[in-house]
């Protein structure tokens, strides 16, 4: 039986954070209910079409899935189990934000088979949380975390954000130290990115340019400071027994997030819900990003053809885009996604996937990156060095053909 992952998008937040440019927005209870109905219709539509697949991981992401009434989550999971074949040991995660989680919600999650909780903590410093426009304090995070533990969740991820305005390696070290005391199984540590179209872009766009150019900055940490923050993160988490398994992810042994690894290893995944992205048998899809159109179309989901220049692809009226990844695109993705993993890519897997040795395509690039000290190969694997991880954009861009 073939395998696949399932991603379910919940695009609602109590309040939009000023740095966020993901698909999320505040919504009334009625809209949330209407959305859940639409999502369930989508789940029910796709389930029978994926009869040949075993679902190995499920990820309920957002937005803030934990903001939804617990009943909604129970119904969504019920629909998933009715429509898809879900592996008995499936990793099932849900994203929770402090300030939206209750004891009752957590017990409903348990009953629905959810095995992993990802909590958006971002910082242990209340000033930073305020600056980020988060609706919670660090204390509220602690309560959510403790509550999750009390409900028997033994696989918890904590999201942290580095590179915040005014942040230093020392101050970020303090955040890490605070959260480490809780001994979560997993850490995701991402940098704040100043994205176009957000209020943060208006405040920090010039600073972000300076940061990327290695110049002195006004509020954002300088590139040197970002470097130091990265090193502090690596050192402290390593000392505490976390293994860095991907550029931004750290886990206790056995707790790496299988769902995320699937993205880097180009597993099949079906994304359902507003604007969700899928990769199914080398076709990448994305769903309609407009909420009201999505809701409207979901009343009559039907198959059709997505017309591309070269070929028409099977799609539905919920899709906003469909693209078959060419062989060249697959090779590029194999490299620039796979090399995000600390263990890198397997030479053998490459040869099996593309029918040629990796050197036939990338000999020059591999030599060049090795020469520059950014890449190594060992025991049949090719992976970025520590410096390669630091400069991953530079290194990975080389694999575009």
């Amino acid at each position: 039986m073939r395998q696949m992952e399932l991603y379910l998008h919940i695009p609602f937040c109590v309040k939009k954070c000023p740095y966020c440019d993901f698909l999320s927005l505040p919504a009334t209870e009625d809209t949330q209910k209407e959305y859940v109905e639409a999502l369930i219709r989508e789940i029910s539509f796709y389930g029978p079409k994926c009869r040949d697949y075993l679902v190995t991981t499920i990820y309920i992401g957002g937005g803030t899935p934990s903001w939804l009434l617990e009943d909604h989550i129970a119904r969504i999971m019920g629909a998933v189990h009715r429509s898809f074949t879900v592996a008995s040991d499936a990793e099932i995660s849900i994203e929770c934000n402090p300030g939206t989680v209750t004891a009752h919600k957590l017990s409903v999650y348990r009953e629905a088979g959810i095995s992993r909780i990802s909590i958006g903590c971002q910082s242990a410093d209340n000033t930073e949380l305020k600056l980020l426009g988060r609706i919670h304090t660090y204390d509220q995070f602690l309560k959510t975390y403790t509550l999750a533990r009390e409900h028997g969740f033994d696989n918890i991820n904590v999201d942290l954000m580095s590179g915040l305005p005014g942040q230093t390696a020392e101050s970020f070290g303090r955040t890490l130290q605070s959260v480490l005391r809780l001994k979560p199984e997993h850490f995701s540590v991402y940098s704040l990115i100043i994205e176009k179209g957000t209020p943060f872009y208006d405040y920090y766009k010039f600073d972000a340019v300076k940061q990327r150019a290695g110049m002195p900055t006004a509020a954002l940490p300088t590139e040197d400071e970002v470097y130091r923050i990265g090193k502090v993160t690596e050192r402290m988490l390593a000392e505490a027994g976390y293994e860095r398994y991907e550029v931004s992810n750290y886990a206790k042994r056995g707790f790496a997030c299988r769902h995320n690894i699937g993205y880097w290893e180009r597993e099949n995944y079906l994304g359902l819900g507003l604007g969700a992205a899928s990769l199914m048998e080398n076709i990448r899809y994305s769903n309609i990003p407009d909420l009201y159109r999505y809701l409207r179309e979901s009343h009559n989901i039907r198959e059709g053809l997505w017309e591309n220049e070269n070929e028409d692809l099977p799609a539905t009226n919920l899709h906003a885009d469909a693209n078959r990844i060419t062989r060249r695109g697959q090779i590029e993705e194999f490299m620039f996604l796979g090399l995000r993993m600390i263990q890198g890519i397997s030479r053998e897997n490459f040869a099996r996937a593309f029918g040629v040795q990796i050197e036939a395509i990338y000999q020059g690039i591999l030599d060049e990156l090795k020469e520059e000290g950014l890449l190594k190969s060992h025991a049949g694997r090719i992976f970025l060095t520590e410096r390669g991880q630091d400069l991953s954009n530079y290194a990975l861009a080389k694999f575009l053909l």
Binding site: H9, S188, E223, V226, Y227, A277, G373, N393, A397
Partner: protein
């Protein structure tokens, strides 16, 4: 067929840039019915795409127009359009020499400008009758009475009955046409004397060979005549003669004294037909050529290299083609350690350079790397040799140099009195030597300076404009060579000297220029995996230094819900940035950096 000379008018239109010369030419052509309105594309005479875009005339053009005058007689007008920029002064002078009169167009809002004066003097030098016309009277800011007084006071020619027109709308064009008949003299010259014709332009046609644009001064020429170019000595036989229709050549039997037209004689090489040369009959030559011929020499040189070195042959072919119609373009192959194979090219001035560069990129689809333009220096060596230096890399060892000379121009700057101080400061900064200043009227001064050419070829125009809020105008003539303290400034990137970035500079400016150059390059060179020192050096001694810091850390975005398109775009952008780079040692330098020396005074 004999043409009544008294019914011919050979004239040109002269004006300061943007005063409406080409628009007036269009109206004249249009209103005499040479072209129907449908055939009329705006500015017929400026037919090169670039000319139209920049609003200037690069090549001379000519057109013959039949005009039915108010007195009932039919007249032949030969309108010769002249280049409108100081770079092309010699071409202008040859076009003027082909005329008997000139229409002076003055903008009713702007009044007399430096080029207006320079053009009038040039026209008077050629004994042309100058007939003023006040243009753009439809502008709200137009002050025609004021401008007429200015023409009379400043230039000293009568302008009381000058037509007040709007070339744009066509207002009062009829008055202009009538005055052409009245005020511009008919040509003179003996059609039975030996042939004496002035070449004022030439262009290459792949079927006819070189087409020579000429004004017949004396004698006549017809198909089959053997001809001789008196300066170059080239001989051939005439295969076709004719005159200029609008946008086409119309063959005729004979051209005789007083007429303007063209001749073809299976001439393969434009270099044989120099603008200003005299054509005569090889069997019955005239005694003396027409005066005023000179070989034009480039004033500004730069290196031009194909961005993609595989396109070197394409660049060579393109230059060859351009030179066919532009004898003032010089080029010879050269090699640069940094840029590979390319050409050292010579131009009449910076505008000429820019035009050629744009034509190469646009018409020949070439991606070019251009080095900083420089002038020709004379290097007097201790052994008595004199080198004309066009490429800074070829400067001999300082021990072998006795002294150096640089070209100096006499410049005339016309400016309203408010900005006299600012402009004098500018000239002073550019090592100018003050010559004189006179007030042409209460609010307007004509300032004369001598300036080293290398101080004005880069950005003098821009500086002049910005410091006078656009109120200054400028004209110059090469005065000659003067001894000067000059040094070669070298740039080292990651300790490697980059030959294409070397330039010659006045000794006392070397430190300042070097510092700015390093700063500029620091901003142009992207960060690498290692630290890159950028140094400016004179004679091996480092005088300025900047450092491009090494890259240390990328910021990492969350890759959300498996949406990898954003990640891909980011990487693609990173990769795209690499394309327009030149590899020098192990440093990648963007091609723009080689021109950056030009923009040192930007900030």
């Amino acid at each position: 067929m004999s043409v009544d000379k008294s019914k011919i008018r050979n004239f040109c239109i002269i004006a300061h840039i943007d005063h409406g010369k080409s628009t007036l030419a269009d109206r004249i052509i249009e209103s005499t019915g040479t072209l129907t309105a449908r055939e009329m594309q705006a500015q017929v005479l400026d037919n090169m795409e670039l000319e139209r875009e920049r609003g200037i005339t690069i090549k001379s053009q000519a057109v013959r127009i039949i005009y039915q005058a108010g007195n009932g007689e039919e007249y032949i007008f030969n309108l010769i359009d002249t280049p409108g920029h100081v770079d092309f002064n010699y071409e202008v002078s040859r076009s003027l020499a082909a005329c008997d009169g000139a229409i002076l167009v003055v903008d009713a809002a702007q009044g007399v400008e430096a080029q207006t004066l320079a053009n009038v003097y040039l026209a008077l030098d050629h004994d042309l009758d100058v007939m003023p016309v006040i243009n753009k009277i439809d502008l709200p800011s137009a002050q025609p009475d004021e401008v007429i007084r200015e023409i009379e006071d400043v230039i000293g020619i009568e302008a009381e009955d000058a037509p007040r027109i709007s070339a744009k709308t066509g207002l009062n064009i009829d008055q202009v046409l009538e005055q052409i008949v009245e005020k511009i003299p008919a040509p003179s010259g003996d059609e039975n004397a030996p042939l004496k014709a002035l070449i004022f332009d030439a262009l290459y046609d792949s079927y006819k060979g070189v087409i020579v644009f000429c004004r017949i001064r004396e004698g006549s020429v017809r198909v089959g005549d053997p001809i001789l170019m008196m300066a170059t000595g080239a001989k051939s036989e005439v295969t076709e003669v004719g005159y200029f229709g609008a946008g086409q050549f119309i063959p005729c039997e004979e051209l005789s004294a007083g007429m303007v037209g063209y001749l073809c004689a299976s001439i393969k090489n434009v270099a044989d037909t120099r603008v200003g040369d005299t054509v005569t009959n090889a069997a019955h030559p005239c005694a003396e050529p027409l005066p005023g011929y000179k070989k034009v020499n480039p004033m500004v040189y730069c290196g031009m290299y194909p961005a993609d070195s595989a396109r070197y042959p394409d660049l060579r072919d393109a230059l060859e083609k351009l030179q066919i119609n532009d004898a003032s373009l010089h080029y010879e192959p050269e090699t640069s350690m940094a840029l590979g194979f390319g050409f050292r090219c010579g131009f009449l001035g910076l505008l000429h350079l820019e035009i050629i560069q744009e034509r190469l990129e646009r018409e020949f689809n070439l991606d070019l790397v251009t080095t900083a333009p420089g002038v020709i220096y004379k290097v007097h060596k201790t052994n008595g040799d004199v080198i004309e230096l066009t490429n800074p890399s070829n400067l001999p060892d300082p021990a072998e140099i006795e002294y150096m000379e640089e070209p100096v121009v006499s410049a005339e700057i016309m400016v309203t009195s408010d900005y006299v101080g600012a402009i004098m400061t500018l000239c002073q900064e550019r090592r100018g030597v003050y010559i004189s200043m006179e007030y042409l009227e209460e609010t307007r001064a004509l300032i004369r300076y001598e300036l080293p050419l290398n101080e004005i070829i880069y950005d003098f125009f821009d500086a002049l404009k910005s410091r006078s809020r656009g109120y200054a105008s400028f004209d110059y003539d090469l005065k000659g060579y003067e001894r000067s303290e000059l040094v070669k400034l070298d740039i080292l990137i990651n300790r490697e000297q980059v030959d294409a970035l070397s330039f010659i500079v006045f000794k006392d400016s070397a430190y300042e220029r070097g510092r700015k150059m390093c700063e500029k390059l620091k901003g142009e060179i992207p960060r690498h995996l290692f630290e890159i020192p950028i140094q400016a050096a004179v004679g091996g001694k480092v005088i300025a230094r900047e450092t491009v810091k090494a890259m240390r850390k990328d910021v990492l975005a969350k890759c959300y819900g498996g949406d990898i398109t954003r990640k891909r775009k980011l990487l693609e952008k990173q990769k795209e940035g690499k394309k327009r780079m030149r590899q020098i040692g192990n440093v990648e330098i963007p091609q723009e950096a080689f021109m950056s020396v030009l923009k040192l005074d930007e900030d």
